[in-house]
Amino acid sequence: MKGIVFFCYMVCALFLFSPIIALVSGPWSYVVSLLGDTLVVQALLISLKSSFISIIIIVVLGLPASYFMARYCFPGKQVLDTVFELPLVLPPAVAGLLLLITFGRNGPIGQYLYRVGIQIPFTFTAVVIAQVFVAAPIFIKSAKSGFQGVDRNLEITAATLGDTPWQTFIKITLPLSWNSILTGIVLAWARALAEFGATIMLAGNLPGKTQTLTLAIYTAMERDMNLSLTIALILILVSFIILTTLKFIGGKRWEEV
């Protein structure tokens, strides 16, 4: 029994680690020399900018939304709640296609935006919209479970000690669900950074305008495999930096005190 389980464990580990081997065995000096390539630099800036804006929007809107989902109830809420999970199961290409139709020149929302001179498809805004669409549910799901994990009685106790609902939220609810919120931010940011399908459908692949790092990998493949590798390296680096920074901000967890 133990032998078989261990064997499967090792196979999984090797398989999941194999891409890293590719990275290590790459032609390093050449890869590094490609770091300054315009394609790479432009894509990096677009990826950072768009994912940063996306994550701000996701947190600002998603935090209250997830709190509402965790704390309040109204008829039909369960049905509406599933809307928040839809993007999780929707293939990104389908999501992108539907967004394109919605925001397109003749789309249900797009036609009105066009009238006031706002064009969404194939712009930087489209990159952000695509990222928010696919990443927001991930954040909301995590934040919601965080809020649900906070005992309602703690909030009531705070109220009897003189706290207003806002004070209670800042001093009790938020610190106690902080880990879930942070996890949500990390996962959503990673998802936004990795976004490909929905972005290419809605925003296209325009270098210097809508081409993010993941799209740039795809484009670079046609020119030079090593250029793709360079971008991949940057993506890994950026993800790693974001992950460790947020973990660092998280500080000591009260469970560990």
């Binding site: 005992d151 009685n153 703690l154 009531i156 106790t157 705070a158 109220a159 009897t160 000690l161 003189g162 706290d163 207003t164 004070q167 009790i172 610190p175 106690l176 009260w254 005190v257």
Partner: protein, 355 residues
């Protein structure tokens, strides 16, 4: 002047409750689980919706939200903020009121000392025992010097020894701080020990309000008598002071020794579970030990109730099943019984037992 007054309060469980809590008194809400005791506390605290009116010092507080009612509330399940240490937990209500750091420090230290938990100041809640948590919760509720203290089963799930110790301490504290307190419990012994007055709550109604003695000796109806365990009540014909805080009373031909230091005794009461029954004569000359004949045997959920005729008295005794099964008892059988001396309750007043 009554500090808290509930007038025709009704909601999903309370039914037309009228209740007064006097200034500086400790009122116990006693009743079975699900009777509406906690809901009444929540009404006073302003945490649940209700119809009717609640007054604090004759001022209607219905429109005042919970944070501004000036109450200290100790919840049943010992809610401490897990991300704050003991000091910060106690300081919580003080910070909200915008006190200076120095003021907060002084007050928290005072409370730590009062509750005898100075050594716990920097601990986190998950490293506290049940008894310690209770002290912290109480200190936190008392910190902002509330005018009203609400305690919801504060001794629940605590071992007997700690409970007894904490009860005494809590009572002394309440007397010292002169704080109006409403105390919820379903434990009769606890209710009697803590209360200035007891309000018996059942099915969302206040069934009776009175001193522990009034409730015990004059339960207003059969339901209350059942709730307090259907005590045996003996009317005393004679009372003789034996000195040293001991008296001998004569009830229906029985001479019963009672620990009592005061005026002569009119009635005594004893719960059926405090009557020992045995089929063989206990060795030695026991105090309050009598012979009787079983006239009735009743089985209920947890125990067996025996009615035993002893001279002119019918005494009810309650014994656990396991013990009953090992004893071979039947109607008409002669048994020995012993009245638990320390559990005998004494009444000096003349009021008639209404049952």
């Amino acid at each position: 002047m009554p500090l808290i007054k509930l007038k025709n309060v009704s909601n999903y469980i309370c039914q037309n409750v009228n209740l007064q809590v006097f200034d500086r008194e400790l009122l116990v809400l006693f009743g079975p689980n699900g009777a509406g005791k906690t809901t009444l506390l929540n009404v006073i605290a302003g945490l649940v919706e209700y119809e009717g009116k609640v007054y604090f010092d004759n001022v209607c507080v219905d429109k005042i939200p919970a944070p501004e009612r000036g109450i200290g509330y100790v919840f049943q399940n010992l809610i401490l903020f897990p991300h704050l240490d003991v000091f910060s937990n106690i300081a919580y209500g003080l910070k909200v009121r915008g006190q200076s750091q120095a003021q907060i420090e002084t007050r928290v230290k005072e409370l730590l000392k009062m509750m005898k938990i100075e050594h716990l100041a920097s601990r986190y809640p998950r490293h506290l025992s049940g008894g310690e948590k209770r002290r912290v919760v109480l200190a936190r509720a008392l910190a902002p010097s509330p005018e009203v203290l609400l305690l919801d089963e504060p001794m629940n799930n605590l071992d007997l020894r700690t409970t007894k110790y904490l009860r005494t301490e809590l009572k002394q504290l309440q007397r010292k701080l002169k704080i109006t307190t409403v105390y919820v419990t379903h434990n009769l012994e606890e209710a009697e020990e803590m209360a200035d007055r007891i309000a018996v709550i059942n099915n969302g109604r206040v069934e009776q309000v009175g001193t522990p003695e009034e409730i015990f000796f004059n339960p207003a109806n059969e339901k209350i008598s059942n709730l307090i365990g259907k005590p045996n009540i003996f009317i005393c014909e004679k009372c003789k002071d034996l000195g040293n805080g001991v008296m001998e009373v004569t009830c229906g031909g029985l001479n019963i020794i009672v620990p009592h230091d005061g005026n002569s005794i009119r009635r005594i009461a004893l719960l059926p579970r405090d009557v020992y029954v045995s089929d063989a004569e206990p060795p030695g000359a026991g105090v309050n030990q009598f012979k009787g004949i079983i006239t009735d045997i009743n089985y209920n959920n947890e125990a067996v109730r025996l009615t035993i005729k002893v001279k002119h008295n019918n005494i009810t005794a309650e014994i656990p099943y396991q013990i009953y099964e090992g004893m071979d008892l039947s109607v008409g059988r002669k048994v020995f019984l012993k009245l638990k001396l320390r559990r005998i309750k004494v009444c000096e007043s003349e009021d008639n037992y209404r049952l």
